[in-house]
């Protein structure tokens, strides 16, 4: 337990290395969103709660580190989306371990599990209209009772 004398420097360790890379505030929440398939700047900001300027900084850094890829999905107007690289997808076990620990030691009720659809992707539910098959959301639905 007692360390070697005199020249004790911080442990050279890949846990520390990993935290240097993805240990900054918001980084892992951004990765969580990307794992869930959220790809657009505004959506990531809304779902994580991260300030927009910080989010910009994190996305740039994750891009520099080869964890996310930023790619245009529209030329005019210029629009971008973010997707995980292999290195980024490999963070799933980290996020899952955090989620499991959070489930059992922080949240008092069990959170819904992350599911994987048989297509191989993380399952994100989306409501469709059974009649026409088109997606349904707040803009395509309207109250008719009043």
């Amino acid at each position: 337990m007692t360390p070697s004398p005199a020249t004790v420097s911080p442990r050279l360790c890949s846990v520390a290395g990993a935290l240097d890379v993805i240990g900054e505030k918001w980084s892992l929440l951004v990765v969580r969103e990307l794992i869930l398939g959220v790809q657009r700047f505004n959506d990531i900001a809304a779902h994580t709660g991260a300030p927009r300027d910080i989010l910009t900084a994190r996305l740039r850094r994750l891009e520099d580190l080869g964890i996310v890829e930023r790619r245009p999905y529209s030329d005019r107007p210029p629009r971008y989306e973010y997707v995980l690289t292999k290195a980024g997808r490999d963070l799933r076990p980290v996020v899952m371990a955090l989620k499991h620990w959070g489930d059992t030691h922080v949240m008092h009720r069990q959170m819904p599990p992350v599911l994987e659809h048989h297509c191989g992707e993380v399952f994100v539910p989306r409501v469709h209209c059974a009649a026409c098959g088109e997606p349904a959301d707040g803009r395509t639905l309207k109250r008719i009772d009043a």
Copy 2:
């Protein structure tokens, strides 16, 4: 992908909950040290590189959250050591996942794996003198060649 309109608030999620608890700078490195069996304030400070005042704050918070236990091992002078609770030991998968990711994506060479001795504890090597069986370190060894 596009979220529901209007009232989009940060996702209620145990990943976020976990990060609120152990996502602050240095927290997971402190847990790493405790997993490795380092229990004393000065040793944790030296091995992590955390500033002493920050380390104090983190240890207090981890104690309040029930992740570490602070207990005296000497009355006079008053001295304390830190050990993980069950909730703290349950963070091992998180630290291991981080370590594995760091091994493959940050560090360019493989770091030595964390081993578990058959006694059930994490294996931390300590060099002993084969002759007398006592532990050997910088204070008990001396160069005799010059």
